[in-house]
Structures are given as C-alpha cells and as structure tokens.
C-alpha cells in the first residue's frame, strides 16, 4: 500500500508523571525524510512508538493518508510501518537467512530474492551463520535487510546508524534515500550526520 502523508496534530506524550512533549505538530509527505532530534530522554523513541501505535497519545492524533483515504486508527497505521528499533529483533539461534525468511513470511512478502537482499547489505557470506556469531554492526545490517524485505511504506527508525561502520552508514543512508525516492516516508530518531533528511523536528 502507498502512503501519501502523515500528520501529527497537537500531539502530547506522558510517560509516568512526566510530560515528554505537548502540542507537537508536524506533517510529512511521501518522498520525505524527517529527522527527530533531541537530547537523551527527550522522547524521540516515544514519538516513534506513538506513530507505530504501541503507545496511545495523551492528547492529539496522528493522521495517515493513503490511497484508501485518511485515518487515525493506530492498528491500520501499524500495518504500514517498517520498524527498526534500537533492538534489532534477531534471534541468536537462527541463521541470518532464516531470520529474513521468517520476517518475510510474517509480513507476507515474496521470499525469492532474500539471498540477494542479504548480499545487498553485505551479508552474503554470513547467510548460514547463526546470529550469535554476528557483530553488532552485522546485526544492524541484517535488521536493515529485514526492513527492506518488509516492503512497508512508512519507515520508523530509532538511531538507525548506531553500531554501523562507515560503509554500513552509507548503506543505511542509501536505503533511506531509495525508500524516499520510491514514494515512502522515513521518520528517524537520529542526529542526521549525513544530512539525509529534508525536515527535522527538535524535541
């Protein structure tokens, strides 16, 4: 499914007794990348979890416009989300290819080009290696492959460049740019070291 835009209106988030942000407004259209910036604990991850639908906003709403109309339903929005959290979501006992196959089936997408996808993120030689033997950077690359395999239009990325070396960062940046080029939206909690994002939001 294609996405046209995502709009946050007067969004507020409360964690425990602490208000992280209030009255937050932003609008992202297809093909744009938004960098969410802020100090540690400012609420970057919470904002991503709000958009994904894991958290309910204390106030305000998030509207997503697709070809089928506009909706603020969190469950519907979740079906559009490609998620890359600060945890990679990988099982140490499973091989890289098995992980990718599992997530491809979970998202009901084609499995045929998964080895090519692994090669694309530089993990062709590690395809049959259990994930416990992968380095932090390699795990991040595998998480990127999982994200690419999900074919979701709205990417929510929490510190996507963490643990990646220079070539890995470049790979991530290219993937983000390519996703935006194909009409997707990227919202990333990052300090945007590569200047990729068209817009930035300071929390």
């Amino acid at each position: 499914m294609m996405i046209s835009s995502l709009t946050a209106e007067k969004l507020a988030c409360v964690r425990g007794d602490r208000a992280l942000f209030d009255g937050l407004n932003f609008h992202v259209t297809a093909g744009q990348a938004l960098a969410v910036e802020g100090a540690n604990g400012a609420g970057k991850t919470s904002l991503l979890r709000l958009i994904a639908g894991f958290l309910a906003p204390a106030k305000g709403r998030i509207l997503v416009k697709t070809g089928q109309g506009e909706s603020d339903d969190a469950e519907e929005r979740g079906r559009l989300v490609g998620w890359l959290g600060h945890l990679d979501g990988l099982k140490p006992q499973m091989t890289a290819l098995e992980q990718l196959l599992f997530y491809a089936r979970l998202h009901a997408v084609a499995e045929a080009d998964l080895p090519a996808l692994l090669a694309e993120v530089g993990l062709a030689r590690q395809a049959e290696l259990p994930c416990r033997y992968l380095s932090a950077g390699q795990k991040r690359r595998l998480a990127l492959a999982r994200l690419l395999a999900s074919r979701r239009p709205l990417w929510l990325l929490d510190e996507p460049f963490a643990a990646l070396d220079a070539s890995g960062q470049n790979l991530m940046a290219l993937a983000m740019a390519s996703h935006c080029g194909e009409g997707g939206i990227v919202i990333a909690a990052t300090h945007d070291p590569l200047g990729l994002c068209n817009e930035s939001l300071k929390l």
């Binding site: 979890r49 894991f54 945890l87 990679d88 979501g89 006992q93 089936r105 979970l106 998202h107």
Partner: protein, 222 residues
C-alpha cells in the same frame, strides 16, 4: 504458509534449539516421577493411588519451566515489536505461541506419561485415562500459562512470580485430571471428570489469547 503457521513453526524451532525447553521439561518430569516412588517405597497400592496426582503435578511443573520465556525472549530482543506490526493480530500471535508451547512441551510430556506410569504400578486402563487426561488438559496449562507469561513480561524476575500467578488457576485441571485417573482405578467411569477437564481446557484455550494479547499490548506501551 500462513503467517500464523510461520510464527508457530519458528517458536517450535527455537524451543528445539535453545538447549531444548522440551528436553528440559521432559527431564524434569522423568526425574520427579522417578524420585517419588523412591521416596514412597515399594508400596505398590499406595503408588498407584497417588500416581494420577503426582504425574499431573509433575507435568504442570515441568511445563512451567519454559513458560516464562513464551513472550519474554521476543520482548527482550525487540522481535515482539516487529511481530506486533505484522498482519497477525496479537490475539492470534498469543494463540500461535500457546500452540507452539503445547506442541513442544505439553504433547511430549503426554507421550512420556505412559512410560512413567509403569513406575507407579498404574494398571493399563488407568494409564490410558492418565494419557487422555494429559492430552486434553495440558493445552490449558499452556493457555493459562500464556496469561501469566504476558503479565510478567517486563519484570526482571518474572519467572519466579509466574508460578504464583498461574498455579492457583491451574488447580481445576489437576483436580479433574487426577480425579479421572482415580475414578478409573476405582472402576468408575472417568467420563465426567474428563468432560469437565475438556470444558476447562476449551474455555482456557479460547479465552486466554485475548487476556494474553491485552497484557502484551500493555507491556509494549510501557
């Protein structure tokens, strides 16, 4: 392959690989069933009288060993976030995990039970009833266990609290299961006890995915 089957098969594969929660459960069950006759002594009548209760309690405790990891592994490594965003609802996710737990733990325990019943001098008919009662009742252990596992998901020592939450809820299955074996030993029909056990298990399997999904949702938002 459906999304449901994909998750179920992955969980079963992980249960088989991670040092084998199934192997751990079977070993624990076999040890309990071996130690009790050694402790009670060679009183064959007494052993056959207590067999139903001991084997049922042993099976429940053995199944508990792997229950705390039902959702926790996925929660800790971030997989649960990705699974929650898949086309599978959290209710069906919980059901897939319950099925995977039963297939990798409850079913092997049930299959082992006739062998362990020999240690208790349990007659053939009563052994058959024990087997059927475990076959019917162990899905309830996985289902109710899933509620406890999802409730204690974000707790550091959730595995310790889990038995305290779910063992009282599992008492009907132990009562009906052991009751069916006792009825068979006394030459009575185990039908009513097995019927009640089946009703309890059906209700557990049908309702617990909703409760477990609600608890997972709560933990994902924390």
């Amino acid at each position: 392959m459906s999304v449901f089957t994909t998750l179920l098969l992955r969980d079963m594969r992980l249960a088989g690989r991670s040092g084998g929660s199934a192997v751990l459960a079977l070993s624990f069950f076999a040890l309990v069933a071996t130690l009790v006759p050694l402790g009670v002594g060679a009183n064959l009548n007494l052993l056959s009288r207590v067999a139903g209760g001991v084997l049922w309690v042993g099976a429940v405790l053995a199944a508990l060993l792997s229950l705390d990891r039902l959702f926790q592994g996925d929660f800790e490594d971030g997989s649960l976030d990705v699974i929650a965003l898949s086309p599978l609802t959290l209710e069906l996710t919980a059901l897939a995990k319950i099925c995977a737990h039963w297939l990798s733990t409850g079913l092997p325990l049930t299959l082992l039970s006739p062998l362990l019943a020999l240690l208790f001098n349990l007659p053939g008919t009563a052994t058959g009833v024990l087997f059927i009662s475990l076959l019917i009742g162990t899905p309830a252990v996985s289902a109710i266990g899933a509620i406890g596992a999802s409730l204690t998901l974000s707790l550091k020592r959730g595995g310790l609290i889990l038995p305290l939450i779910i063992l009282p809820l599992l008492s009907p299955s132990v009562i009906f299961g052991a009751g069916a074996v006792s009825a068979a030993l006394d030459g009575l029909s185990p039908g009513s006890a097995l019927g009640l056990l089946a009703a309890f298990a059906t209700a557990s399997v049908l309702l617990s995915p909703f409760a477990a999904a609600a608890c997972v949702r709560l933990n994902l938002s924390s």
